[in-house]
Symmetry: C2
Amino acid sequence: MTRWLSIEEQAVWRSWLVATSMMRERLSQDQEEGSGFSVEEYGLLVQLSEAEGRRLRMSSLAVLGLYSRSRLSHSISRLVDKGWVTKEPCDTDRRGAWAVLTKAGFEALEAAAPIHIESVREHLLDPLTTEQVAQLGQICATIAEHLCSIEGADTALALRVMGGPAPEPSK
Amino acid sequence: MTRWLSIEEQAVWRSWLVATSMMRERLSQDQEEGSGFSVEEYGLLVQLSEAEGRRLRMSSLAVLGLYSRSRLSHSISRLVDKGWVTKEPCDTDRRGAWAVLTKAGFEALEAAAPIHIESVREHLLDPLTTEQVAQLGQICATIAEHLCSIEGADTALALRVMGGPAPEPSK
DNA sequence: CCCAAGTAGTTGACAGATCAACTAATAGGG
DNA sequence: CCCTATTAGTTGATCTGTCAACTACTTGGG
C-alpha cells in the first residue's frame, strides 16, 4: 500500500531535487573556473588538510569523503599525477597506504578556498534568513544522521565535523 | 576580502553536503534495485508522463529535467534502446524531435513509482517533523529560485511544478 | 529572395564513476 | 602454528556525463 505524496510533499521533494542539483552544478562551475580542480577533489584535499600530519589512510579518507574505495583509488592517482598528493606506505600495516597532502597541494587548496566559500555564501547562505540557515543545518543533520544509521556504522564518521567532539576512529 | 564561514555556517554547509550526497546515493540504490532504471532516467520519464500526450520536444525536456542537450540526447538514445521511449519527427519544425513515452515506458514508470515514493518518505520526509518539512520546502524553493535567477531565464521552467500556475512556455 | 545568425539536435572524443575481479596482508579460531 | 575469513587497496572493463564540433533547419534583415 503506497502512501502517495500530497501536493505539498511533492512540491517539497521537487524543490529539493532542483535545489540540490542546481547547487551542485553551480558550485562545480564556480570552482573549476577559478582553481585547477573539481569540487570532489576539493573535498578530498580539505579532509587531508584537516587531518593530523595532513595525511590519512586511504580507507579513512574514503569514509570521510563518502567515496568508494575504488573511486578514491582512481581519484588519488590523478591527484598524485598533478602533484597535490603523494602516497606513502604504512609501517604498521603493510597492506595500507597513506595519502599525504603535499606543500603544493596545500597551497592550491588555500588558493581555491576563497572561491569555494564565496560560492557557498552567495548561492546557499545569503539567499536565506539567519533563521532558515539554522533550520537547514538542523534538517540536514537529521537527514544525514538517519541515513548514516541505516548504512554501516562507520559512515557516521563523515559526520564528525558536524558538531560535537570527534568520535574515536573505528580502528 | 574573503568572508570566511563561522563554525556554525561550516557545520550547516557540511551537513548539507553529507545529506545531499547520501540522499542521492541512497535513492539511486533503492531505485535501481527495484526498477530497471536510474533515478535520472526516472526523472525524465516522469516529465514525459506528465506532459500532454506523454511527449515533449527534446529541448523542453532538457530544460525540465535540468539536462544539457547533449546529455539528453545520449540518455534518450539509451531509453529508446530499452523501449521506454520512442522518437518522432516534429511536423512544425523539421529540425525538431518529440520524445514520446511508450506504453512499456509508462508501465515501467508505474511499477517504479511506489519504490521511489517509499524511499523519499523513508529517508527524507519521515525523519523530519511536519514543520521541518515545510521549512525545507521553503528553503529549497528559495535557493532554487535564486539559482534560476542567475542562470538563463528559461531554467525557471524547471520550477513550474513547485507551486503556482505554470508560466507560459518561452516559445 | 537571399544570406547571416541563431536554434534543434546529434555525434565522437575524452574524463570521471561504478562494478567485479584481483593481489596482498592481517587477524583470529582451532 | 596454520588455515580461513576479512580487510586494504588496485586494476580494467564498462557506463555515464561533458565538451566542442558538426549538420540541418528556421528566422529575420536588407
